[in-house]
């Protein structure tokens, strides 16, 4: 296991560095600079001075190595769009709303999805099975901003039950959390159902039934445990995908989270923030996949690490 983890860590480092180079180059290849905006025109001398003070007049490779040197010391620079704080401080301020809404969304969605999937698998071809499939298909195919739009239209505009936007009151959290919960719920309903059905058809379940074990114990002690394996693998990546905030959900529900910065960092050529966001999410995905593999191996001793390359 240790050599496997070391090998994976090396591979993660390689991936991370490749992503950083590609993104850095792409970012600087976008025409225009951070001080070319029309709302605050500056003269050429001032702009040159500003660029020089931020080190943007140096050759690209120098800028890249300087920035990456900082990254390895957990210094992501100062965001151009709000120079009063560091990127790390900005993330610490803007992330909590996304983390709360997205995290709650994933947790609620995943639990509901698992329940739905279990029920669907146990009552195959019943109305609840069809309902689960319908939910799973809808949640996985309809873009999240369309779901958000439908939620706003129905619950805020027509019925007027819930506020469409805002962050302060808890009842304004309901709609964004619902929007966030759709994808995890759909994913889990689908995975749980197919994993449960796989296990339910195994011979050992028939043996357990023949030995007279109660159906409840068969399901909860044996089937669910075996079905949990594929369910574990999707959780972490999904959590990261959701809890880093969605540009769409946050812009539609006016949540002051991380999402808005994805767009503004690109539009305002805010290089330090843009790099920080992409590198941070990339790193979290890498770690999530590694942890998932380790968890998978611990739950399933049949997996061996000798030279397997998935």
């Amino acid at each position: 296991m240790i050599p496997f983890i070391l090998k994976r860590l090396a591979s993660i480092l390689l991936t991370f560095m490749t992503v950083s180079v590609i993104v850095f180059l792409m970012m600087h290849a976008v025409p225009g600079g951070p001080f070319d905006g029309n709302d605050m025109p500056v003269s050429k001398e001032v702009r040159d001075k500003l660029m020089a003070s931020l080190g943007l007049d140096q050759p690209l490779y120098v800028q890249y190595f300087k920035y990456m040197w900082g990254v390895f010391h957990f210094d992501f620079g100062v965001p151009f769009q709000s120079p009063g704080e560091t990127v790390v401080e900005l993330l610490a301020r803007a992330w909590p709303p996304s983390l709360i809404l997205g995290g709650l969304g994933v947790l609620i969605g995943a639990s509901l999805g698992i329940l739905l999937g279990i029920t669907a698998a146990l009552r195959r071809n019943s109305w609840i099975d069809y309902l689960a499939s319908a939910f799973a298909t809808l949640g996985l195919t309809i873009p999240v901003f369309v779901i958000s739009m439908m939620l706003i239209l129905v619950f805020a505009v027509w019925l007027g039950w819930l506020p469409a936007k805002g962050w302060g009151k808890p009842n304004s959290w309901i709609l964004p959390i619902t929007a966030y919960a759709m994808i995890p719920m759909a994913t889990y309903a689908r995975y749980t159902r197919s994993a449960m059905l796989d296990v339910l058809n195994k011979p050992f379940v028939t043996v357990l039934r023949a030995k007279g074990l109660s159906e409840r114990r068969i399901i909860f002690q044996h089937v669910l445990r075996n079905a949990a394996l594929p369910m574990v693998t999707v959780f972490l990546p999904m959590f990261i995908g959701t809890a880093t905030g969605s540009i769409f959900v946050e812009s539609m529900f006016r949540v002051p989270g991380l999402g808005a910065y994805f767009v503004s960092a690109i539009n305002l050529r805010d290089y330090p923030l843009e790099m920080a966001l992409i590198l941070m999410i990339t790193m979290m995905f890498c770690v999530a996949y590694l942890l998932t593999d380790i968890a998978y191996a611990m739950l399933n001793p049949r997996i061996r690490f000798a030279g397997n390359t998935r």
């Binding site: 390689l14 992503v19 993104v23 309809i142 739009m149 239209l153 197919s194 690109i266």
Partner: protein, 291 residues
């Protein structure tokens, strides 16, 4: 000819696939919906009264749906039904072309990785790993900003993120077929690797390729809608549903039709394509069902 009169008739695999497909009601219905959408997109100039950017009804701007304007009039005095129908053109053509490009990139890479294994496989898998860890929408937005958006670039961006799935499907199929006896036989007879890949491996991977193609369509359509929603996709006045949803958001409290129709159009199209693709997958390869 006694052989022809025997009661036993040999059926082709395609026949069984067709039977499995038609037994799936949701897939057949989606196929029909998709067909109607495609016909509407092709016949757009025939079924709409004006061009998609004609501000013919400025005095009736934001009018609600009526017998004259089925989907109402938008804020700039354009017939909204016309806009939606032309939006289908944009969405479907981007979806199909991007899926085609995904296949063009994904199939050779998947075949090479699956057949040669070793270093080629390692290289392809590292590239795929890159795509799995980078937040795709962020990268797509960056690319959109880099290229300035536009019809063709959106297609290329969607293909860039769509080929991975096709590649993995083809790679898995090629890997399993590579070990079969007939491939060994072809190798023994001196067939070149290129010939084997083209003639045997890709031919045996046709089902996953078709499935990968169809399932790449909704992904591309969703990416286009997302980018257009954010204002870096297809530029106005070319009608795109994502763009219309974005505009509709500002009007939805008073002029619901501005938000409802593009939302519904996008949802129905993506849903129909996905269900059609799922049905096709189950029909062509029953062992993959439910995955």
């Amino acid at each position: 000819m006694t052989l022809a009169t025997t009661p036993y008739r040999q059926r082709s695999p395609l026949y069984f696939a067709w039977r499995r497909f038609t037994a799936n009601k949701a897939a057949v219905l989606s196929g029909l919906v998709l067909l109607v959408l495609i016909l509407m997109a092709i016949a757009a100039p025939l079924i709409s009264k004006t061009g998609y950017e004609d501000q013919a009804y400025l005095t009736q701007a934001l009018a609600f749906p009526s017998s004259e304007f089925w989907f109402g009039v938008d804020d700039l005095g354009r017939d909204f039904f016309t806009r939606i129908v032309y939006g289908a053109r944009v969405s479907l053509s981007i979806g199909f072309t991007a899926a085609l490009f995904s296949v063009v990139i994904g199939v050779p890479l998947g075949a090479v990785a699956g057949y040669y294994g070793g270093r080629a496989d390692w290289a392809v898998m590292r590239v795929i790993e890159l795509f799995s860890v980078v937040p795709s929408l962020l990268a797509a937005m960056l690319l959109g900003a880099l290229t300035g958006g536009g019809f063709l670039t959106i297609i290329l961006i969607a293909a860039l993120f769509g080929w991975v799935q096709v590649c993995l499907l083809v790679r898995a199929q090629v890997k399993s077929v590579r070990e079969k006896e007939f491939v060994r036989a072809a190798q023994a007879l001196g067939a070149t690797p290129w010939y084997i890949i083209r003639r045997h491996l890709i031919a045996n991977a046709v089902s996953p390729i078709i499935v990968g193609f169809v399932l790449a369509i909704p992904l591309a359509m969703m990416l286009e809608a997302s980018l257009s929603f954010l204002g870096i996709g297809v530029a106005p006045p070319t009608p795109s549903w994502g763009q219309m949803i974005n505009v509709g958001m500002n009007f939805m409290y008073f002029y619901w039709h501005m938000a409802v129709f593009p939302t519904a159009a996008l949802a129905i199209t993506v849903l129909a394509t996905t269900l059609f693709g799922d049905g096709l997958r189950d029909a062509l390869d029953p062992t993959m069902k439910g995955r």
